[in-house]
Symmetry: C2
């Protein structure tokens, strides 16, 4: 068991890292950031040291309570169990199902198809069409699902894990739920523009 | 609130549907299958009726307890909360984190990159290389992670949600954990070869 502050391996621009940064901010968990630049030096995630830590060569990874957790939703679920306040999953199991369904739709149905490493594989010619397909198809479905789940936020009137997935995914798009969430402090302090590894010219 | 048997919209060959079928079998939940053939009739998931049910046009979808849940892991988490026996998540939060990390790695890091609709988009020429890349990269990482989590099964000595993700993903591959799981009844009755919609020539 190691003591000390949790360490988040994060890239300011990574939407999956941003999800976890919002959770840490909402729950008031003090942590250290170790920046892993996915582009610099041919991708710092490919370094021997980082690969030993996370064989998927992805951010985020969180060291906390003596363990190392990969995968943003697994990290958020762990934080929810060990640091339950404020809750990011509703008390009602049916609403929890909605939150997880929306989170999985974004984390498994949209994000993986338009992330950096996949777009690289797709090749420059097809990249834009490919990403647009994934995003359009996913968000159309999401909009329909939100019609039956949303209140002020994605599921009812409290911020949940689903919102932590939504905002990073549509960071540059327009959506009324997204706008309401972006003004909350946790979404602001965790924003890609305000991270220790954000290049000066991109700071805001 | 509707009463009656849960209804699973499923395709025998779909690895995400298989995950849920294993959970239902392990928990002894009686259910009806509505087959959605992802290939026949240009893909039955694109029918107006099914799209109204699941805007993502994907299986599985489960109707249960008066609600409709999409996304296999969200479904399994709901079943775990409402029908907790036998448990598919360990009691120890750190082990639960391992289970969710492995499940998300497979459900978000491997499956989405090699499923039918993505391979169609990639085009015939690149399909094989593409799928092999996704699978090789994902399984290499998984093998490393399993070294620190596995007992008899993926996490310790009890069957967990992680195993429900593993078996469908490596159905045709060789792995000792996979072989041990495949002899368990729940993995057999839920197998693609033994579903109501399995074509006769593929039955076993």
């Amino acid at each position: 068991m190691q003591a000390g502050k949790p360490i988040l391996y994060s890239y300011f621009r990574s939407s999956c890292s941003w999800r976890v940064r919002i959770a840490l901010a909402l729950k008031g968990i003090d942590y250290e950031t170790v920046p892993i630049n996915l582009i610099k030096d041919g991708g710092q995630q490919f370094s021997k040291d980082f690969q030993a830590l996370n064989p998927m060569k992805q951010v985020p990874t969180l060291k906390i309570d003596g363990i190392t957790i990969h995968q943003s939703l697994a990290i958020i679920e762990y934080l929810e169990e060990m640091r339950p306040t404020p809750r990011l999953l509703p008390q009602d199991p049916k609403k929890r199902a909605s939150v997880r369904m929306i989170s999985d739709l974004i984390a498994g149905g949209i994000q993986p198809l338009q992330n950096l490493s996949v777009l690289k594989q797709v090749g420059e010619e097809m990249q834009l069409t490919w990403a647009q397909n994934a995003i359009t198809c996913g968000f159309n479905a999401l909009e329909q699902i939100l019609q039956s789940t949303a209140g002020i936020y994605c599921v009812g009137d409290e911020v949940t894990m689903a919102d932590l997935c939504l905002v990073p995914q549509v960071a540059n798009a327009e959506s009324s739920i997204n706008k309401r969430l972006l003004v909350l402090e946790a979404f602001q302090v965790s924003h890609p523009c305000r991270q220790p590894d954000t290049p000066t010219e991109l700071r805001a």
